[in-house]
């Protein structure tokens, strides 16, 4: 059983985001990137399956800022192989292009199961998971929070709004978009990552020509106009608590 996990980095939303001068994209000068949170869950889910069965976990990412660190961290957590797709500027590709570059790589690996994060907050032309599944001609279930592999079968839990979860059986090979793993993503110490960095090689896999048809033409990025913001309660914790109590009393809940 070969499980491929594809991972990407996204702008850290805790930081202030700047738009570049042409208003065409985010200004990357000060942009801090972090692993896309659902991807960490996809990796965790893959590693849990590896512990239960004799599975090989292969992590792939597009070459770009921070990818080596992300891949080595995945290896430190237990991924068997880490592969960087090189030859295309991973920081500027749209998701249709990414899916088209991943398709032959996934076929070549002979993966039985591909797991992506369910979504990243910066996509504009759809999530890679369903796009990739469509290109591969494989079934796809996304918004998954739990995967069980038994024999040739794959049972997943798919989430719907309102907290409803539906159990689905999926034929392999398949692509799954992971929302959360059954347990929080494991932590790995920086010292361990450093150690693995010395002994593990990031495999490089050159890709072919980029085909980015399928996304819209972007005219401009802008910030939303801020409506009325909250009025802030000033003072130390006692003063703030007293004001809040008064507000709760006025609202009739106290």
């Amino acid at each position: 059983m070969k499980i491929a996990v594809v991972m990407k980095l996204v702008p850290d939303l805790v930081e202030e985001l700047e738009i570049d001068e042409e208003k065409a994209r985010l200004d990357t000068t000060w942009l801090r990137l972090v692993a896309n949170e659902p991807d960490e869950h996809a990796l965790e889910q893959a590693l849990l399956l590896k512990e239960q069965l004799d599975a090989e976990v292969i992590v792939l990412g597009m070459d770009g800022d921070g990818m080596d660190d992300l891949l080595v961290t995945a290896a430190a957590k237990g991924a068997d192989r880490i592969i960087k797709l090189t030859g295309a500027d991973g920081d500027t590709l749209n998701n249709h292009a990414v899916a088209r570059l991943l398709e032959p790589a996934i076929r070549e690996l002979g993966a039985d199961l591909v797991m992506t994060g369910v979504q990243a907050h910066d996509d504009l032309d759809g999530a890679v998971g369903p796009l990739l599944a469509g290109l591969l001609g494989w079934p796809c279930v996304s918004y998954v929070s739990g995967v069980v592999l038994e024999g040739a079968g794959c049972d997943v839990r798919k989430e719907f709004p309102g907290g409803l979860v539906v159990e689905m059986e999926v034929d392999l090979p398949a692509v799954l978009g992971i929302q959360s793993a059954p347990q929080p993503p494991r932590y790995v110490a920086v010292s361990r990552v450093r150690q693995v960095m010395k002994t593990t090689e990031v495999e490089e896999h050159p890709v072919g020509a980029v085909d980015d048809r399928g996304a819209a033409e972007v005219q401009a990025l802008r910030r939303p106009s801020v409506g009325e913001r909250a009025s802030m309660l000033e003072g130390d914790e006692r003063e703030a608590a007293d004001q809040l109590v008064a507000i709760l009393q006025k609202a009739g809940v106290l």
Binding site: L13, V14, E16, L17, I19, L26, H41, H96, H121, L124, D125, G126, A127, P130, L131, A133, G134, P139, V141, S142, Y143, R157, E159, F160, P161, G162, L164, V166, E167, M168, E169, V170, A174, Q183, G214, A215, A216, V218, Q219, L221, R222, P224, G227, R229, A230, S231, M232, L233, E237, R238, A240, A241, D242, L244, V245, I247, L248, Q249, A251, V253
Partner: protein, 321 residues
């Protein structure tokens, strides 16, 4: 290619999801601009066309479509699109719409735009506004021609605008063979019963990643108890296993509308906000003065929860006497 705008109607347990009414409202704005019709696409249950603000409906009924199955939905929609390509096909940016739109985009080689919060017609041209980076950035662009797939998020169009007193005229769509599907529905896991139903509480204390430690959940729970309410949570807290999924508020959790929602250490991501924005009074406690939660809250306290919470609990208990 026609000028019509199709909307995939998402439904569960006999009810149309609000996001589909949002989609119908967006479709109306597009269709009016370019002189097309709004067409509701209803898979599984033709009775659901009642109350949809559409000019007509395409209905496909088949046991395999009685509830959502990605394979069946994609096959049915492919058959409909093979009959005629509309100017746009809209779906919710949800666990149904996002999946179906991505699959169709790749399989039919149709462009896709997701996260749309606004659409506009400029002459024959259709423009969109999408929301990225947790709502911190808006992107304006043009919807590719001649046919585009679009997924919409809540916020730009009112649910009511997608509703109607009457039903659109219905036509039966093509019915592809839907056996040997590679995905099969096995069963439902309903949200845990026995636990609190947060959608019925009038006071909710929402806890987010900013609470940092599990112990704080207990403190928040005590505060909720003192106020006669309950604790609920954002996704990271539930993923951490600190509260059950039944307490999750937002896109993949419950929609709540308490008289008071106190958000502790919640940044205010759109996926969370869509579940609680309709609350009567929203008060947020967050150390980051730029956190988006302060856009929806009426009152804010820029303070470490660990400093505020014990004092607040004390004061609330005193006030109760």
């Amino acid at each position: 290619m026609s000028r019509d705008i199709y909307v995939v109607v998402e439904h569960r347990e006999g009810l149309v999801e609000d996001i589909s009414f949002v989609g119908l409202a967006a479709a109306r704005a597009m269709a009016e601009g370019i002189g097309g019709e709004v067409v509701a696409v209803v898979l599984g249950d033709g009775r659901l066309i009642e109350g949809l603000a559409a000019d007509r409906a395409i209905v496909v009924e088949d046991p395999a479509l009685s509830e959502y199955n990605p394979e069946a939905y994609v096959a049915a929609l492919e058959a409909i699109l093979a009959d005629e390509l509309p100017r746009a096909l809209l779906a919710g940016d949800t666990s149904v719409g996002a999946e179906v739109a991505g699959l169709l985009s790749a399989r039919l080689d149709l462009p896709l735009v997701n996260r749309c919060v606004g659409v506009r017609a400029e002459g024959e041209t259709l423009g969109f506004t999408a929301q990225i980076c947790g709502g911190k950035i808006l992107v304006d662009g043009l919807l590719p021609e001649p046919t585009v797939l679009v997924t919409v998020v809540p916020g730009g169009f009112a649910v009511e605008e997608g509703k109607s007193e009457t039903a659109p005229s219905a036509q039966t769509g093509p019915r592809p063979t839907l056996d040997e599907l590679r995905v099969r529905v096995r069963g439902h896991i309903e949200p845990d019963v026995g636990d609190v139903d947060i959608s019925r509480e009038s006071v909710l204390i929402g806890v987010g990643r900013g609470i940092q430690q599990e112990d704080t959940v207990e403190l928040a729970d005590e505060l909720a108890g003192a106020l006669g309410g309950a604790v609920c949570a954002s996704r990271p807290v539930v993923d951490q296993g600190w509260l059950p999924t039944s307490r999750l508020v937002g896109k993949s959790g419950r929609r709540v509308k308490p008289s008071v929602y106190l958000a502790l250490g919640i940044s205010g991501a759109p996926e969370h906000v869509e579940g609680m924005a309709d609350s009567g009074l929203i008060v947020a406690v967050n150390t980051d003065p730029t956190a988006p939660i302060y856009d929806v809250a009426q009152y804010g306290i820029e303070m470490d929860i660990n400093d505020l919470l014990p004092t607040l609990l004390e004061r609330v208990q005193e006030a109760k006497g």
